[in-house]
């Protein structure tokens, strides 16, 4: 298992970080959003970022994506400075309805990423079918996003991101707008997709249970300006399970610790 080997590297700290924030400060419109953030994400690591609203979690993700440039400090990807977004870094936006092309079918939306990657039109159909099957949408290739439920649209966005064959997957509260059942199903699917591809993930959420359930490590941000307040390694066995993992004493301990932290930041 390649991903298991990578996880070992993560834990031993042997690998160089895939994404590294080095003293990153971001000022937007005269307001300091992120201050002196230093953070390394190892290849194959699943990092979750939580925090009260307005603490700069999404901003941190956009810095990692190259959509923002830091005011001072550096963001490196594979040891190279990030100057612009790159195809190896895929972003799953929370607002799937805005991130999909309404005039393209499901297949067409996946195709967009393949076209951008320079895949020939002869190779595309097979790959599109494969990707749609991976995310559980094999029978919906010719539907428009507007004909699909929220959960299906988010799966479609994930399929498009997988089509980029990303080294890093950035997920911005991807399940925030979905109901609890859909959400749990998608959490497990993301875990198995990530395990299969070995991609590094930065996952932003305001759901603390979700962060612990998914992550190898959870970082809690303090607001105004955004900075790291707590860092918790999650030593829960994988594969994770919606029932037994959530009942695990370690899960409950981490959950308590994280809730106390968030409560303290809100005062």
């Amino acid at each position: 298992m390649a991903s298991a080997a990578k996880r070992l590297e993560v834990l031993s700290g042997a690998a160089t970080p895939q994404i590294a924030f080095d003293g990153v400060t971001l000022v937007l419109g005269g307001k300091t959003i992120i201050e002196n953030l230093s953070l390394g994400v190892q290849p194959g690591e699943f990092l979750c970022i939580v925090g009260a609203s307005g603490c700069g979690k999404t901003t941190a993700l956009r810095l990692a994506a190259g959509l923002y440039q830091p005011t001072s400090g550096k963001v490196n990807f594979d040891g190279q400075p990030m100057r612009e977004p790159r195809r190896e870094i895929a972003i799953v936006f929370q607002d799937y309805g805005k991130a999909l092309l309404p005039w393209r079918t499901a297949a067409g939306n996946v195709s967009l990423a393949l076209e951008a990657g320079g895949m020939t039109s002869a190779e595309r159909p097979a790959r599109i079918e494969e990707l749609l099957r991976t995310v559980g949408l094999p029978d919906h290739a010719s539907k428009y996003p507007s004909e699909m439920s929220g959960g299906m649209q988010q799966r479609l966005q994930i399929a498009r991101c997988l089509a980029q064959e990303p080294k890093t997957l950035l997920m911005d509260e991807p399940f925030g707008a979905l109901d609890a059942m859909t959400r749990q199903g998608l959490q497990d699917e993301v875990l198995s997709l990530v395990a299969a591809s070995g991609a590094t993930v930065i996952f932003v959420t305001h759901d603390l249970d979700e962060a612990i359930y998914l992550g190898d490590r959870v970082i809690g941000l303090l607001p105004h300006p955004g900075r790291i307040g707590i860092e918790l390694p999650v030593n829960l066995p994988r594969p994770r399970d919606q029932l037994s993992t959530r009942e695990h004493p370690e899960f409950l301990r981490l959950r308590r610790q994280l809730f106390d932290f968030i409560k303290a930041t809100e005062q």
């Binding site: 959509l67 195809r87 972003i91 991130a99 092309l101 309404p102 005039w103 967009l112 951008a116």
Partner: protein, 255 residues
């Protein structure tokens, strides 16, 4: 088509037939001198005569040609200029005031200028028609390009799409409902200006035919020309609707 829609259609045809009948009645009663108002029977006879002799065909072809060339030129230029202005906020701020000055300018005021510069030529007609028809298309394109969902540009950036790919795969399709609506408005403008140019410059077309018929007091021919112009406007508008419906099938799915 459902029952209610069918009934409405039948009713609308009945209204149209009623108007024709009324027209025939007025003509038969000679409420207006037959020199000025022919009945539908005479207008129809003139249409049939015109088409069988081939006269009307060539006039119709002339008008359609003026209209099509002007409209196509306006569409290409309007979409291109609109795209450039619409995709940059700075351009919009700089150019918008000039557009606001030019837009309400009646195109008829441009015709003498165009005649002075280009003479009574086809080029003059092309210029005038294109100038009049470009506004709805260009303004719609500017609006459409300015309203593209910013999230989609971020998706494009993360996919490292080329500038050209962003325009053709994101911005243009996103703006297409606006652009097509603008093109539909321009179709009517192009028809009107074709007729005006034919009348003013004596160019071959239905406008010229109508003018000559009126001068010669051939009221039946005059009405035949007017009817044919109405049919042209109607048919082109229906064709445009069908094209819109086809191109924007994804929007129907959205509702």
């Amino acid at each position: 088509m459902n029952r209610a829609a069918l009934l409405w259609r039948v009713a609308s045809f009945a209204v149209a037939a009623g108007f024709v009948a009324l027209w025939q009645l007025i003509a038969n009663l000679k409420l207006v001198s037959p020199v000025f108002l022919p009945g539908p029977d005479r207008a129809w006879a003139s249409l049939v005569r015109g088409f069988s002799s081939g006269d009307l065909w060539s006039k119709l072809a002339g008008t359609l040609e003026h209209m099509a060339y002007g409209w196509l030129a306006a569409s290409i230029a309007g979409i291109a200029i609109g795209a450039i202005i619409g995709s940059s906020r700075r351009m919009r701020t700089y150019v918008a005031p000039s557009l606001e000055f030019l837009r309400p300018l009646p195109v008829s005021a441009i015709i003498p200028v165009a005649i002075a510069m280009l003479g009574l030529t086809q080029a003059m007609a092309l210029f005038v028609i294109a100038f009049g028809a470009i506004w709805p298309i260009m303004l719609a394109t500017i609006h459409g390009f300015a309203a593209v969902e910013p999230r989609l540009y971020e998706v494009a950036r993360s996919l490292q799409m080329s500038r050209l790919a962003v325009i053709f795969k994101i911005a243009l399709p996103s703006a297409s409902p606006d652009i097509l609506a603008g093109m539909r408005l321009s179709l009517t403008v192009a028809l009107i200006l074709s007729v005006v140019c034919e009348i003013l410059a004596g160019l071959d077309g239905l406008g010229h035919w109508v003018l000559l018929s009126a001068r010669a007091f051939r009221s039946a021919d005059l009405f035949a020309g007017v009817i044919l112009l109405g049919v042209t406007g109607y048919v082109t508008s229906v064709a445009m609707s069908l094209a819109e419906h086809r191109l924007l099938a994804w929007q129907a799915a959205q509702r």
